[in-house]
Amino acid sequence: MNTHALNLRTPPADEDRVALAWQALADVEDPEIPDLKILDLGLIRFVRVHAGVLEVGLSPTYVGCPATEVIHHDVVQALRDAQIGACIVTSVLSPAWSSDWITTEGRQKLLHLGIVPPERTVLNMREVLRADRPPACPRCQSTDTECISEFGSTPCKALHRCRACLEPFEYFKCI
């Protein structure tokens, strides 16, 4: 018996497909923030196989964020390129995506790009309606900063300015 040929005919095991999918997903970038991967943002809820179909659960960050559709498209493309058989991408609304799910590495990348990562956790979400502790300037670390606008170039970010070094910077909002 030719075991090699037999192996070729056997479709990859479910666990292997899941592992390959995670590998493919690791390369998908956020379309708005270069270098940041969607895994850094914690956008993937699950990867599973059911009845031969591989399913990826994807969380939208903000309901109206135009990047959501681009990300969805990029994920589908990455899975297709990885050639791991039939797959679907499901949008997962519940539980709602939280900025708490941004990984430590993701936070470091944001800071490196001059975007201050969210500080608080969602446990304090009701506190959002009260005044913020001003985030420290990513350039000079001064805490003498002010909010210029609650909304920046994308819904997920607010615009701040450092009163010490006078540089503007973005703050990734806690949500």
């Binding site: 903000y62 309901v63 109206g64 959002v128 994308t154 819904p155």
Partner: protein, 256 residues
Amino acid sequence: MSAAAVDSKALFRYVLRLGDLSLVLGQRLGEWVGHAPALEEDLGLANIALDLIGQARLLLSYAGEIEGCGRSEDDIAYLREQGEYLNPVLAEQPNGDFGQTIVRQLLIDAFQLELYERMAASTDERLAAIAAKSVKETRYHLRYSGSWLVRLGDGTEKSHALAQSALDRLWPYTVELFAEDDLDRTMADCGVAPRLAEMHTAWTMRLDELLAQATLKRPGDRAHSWHGKRGQHSEHLGYILAEMQYLQRAHPGARW
């Protein structure tokens, strides 16, 4: 009563009310793009509009599924007549000056916050998920409109006068938000929607706190004769729909 026992026609109309509120207000805010007093406000209003359109998409898609006639979110948004829109008339009021836009926004942000916070526990799982997602964004909307209300009200003599006149003009429309009709009652009875009376109390408390900070006076309630929630609108909605629906009416089925 379980969510499964909810009458689907009633649920369809109720979800349209929620979706139309977000859609019409989002479309209104979009009119500010390129015209706001400063670039920051242009971005702020446009971002809130985006969130609202995002909510509307989720809600109108769901309405289409409940209806079961194969209508998509776009079919529902672009191909209904004015009388089929079920938003409260406050949402369609013109932008006016920046103060009027901020007051209208604040009144609706505070309403949606009370709504979504409670609806996150709805017996309807889909609505619960949409509400839990939307409430997070709505908090930022209220933070934006609330802080502007305080700046305008507690600002110069002129900004105070304009903010108070906007409040006086728009306040009567808020009565419709909380006027419970049979549909609201049915939805609350089966746990799909929160009780409007309960929301009204919390909303008023929050408003009073903000108005006090803004040194503005809360106008008295009056009997209202608006029934946007039943499809009877002010003259303003027609103009919004004419602009919003033009492309789909002129070029049916056009896609990006």
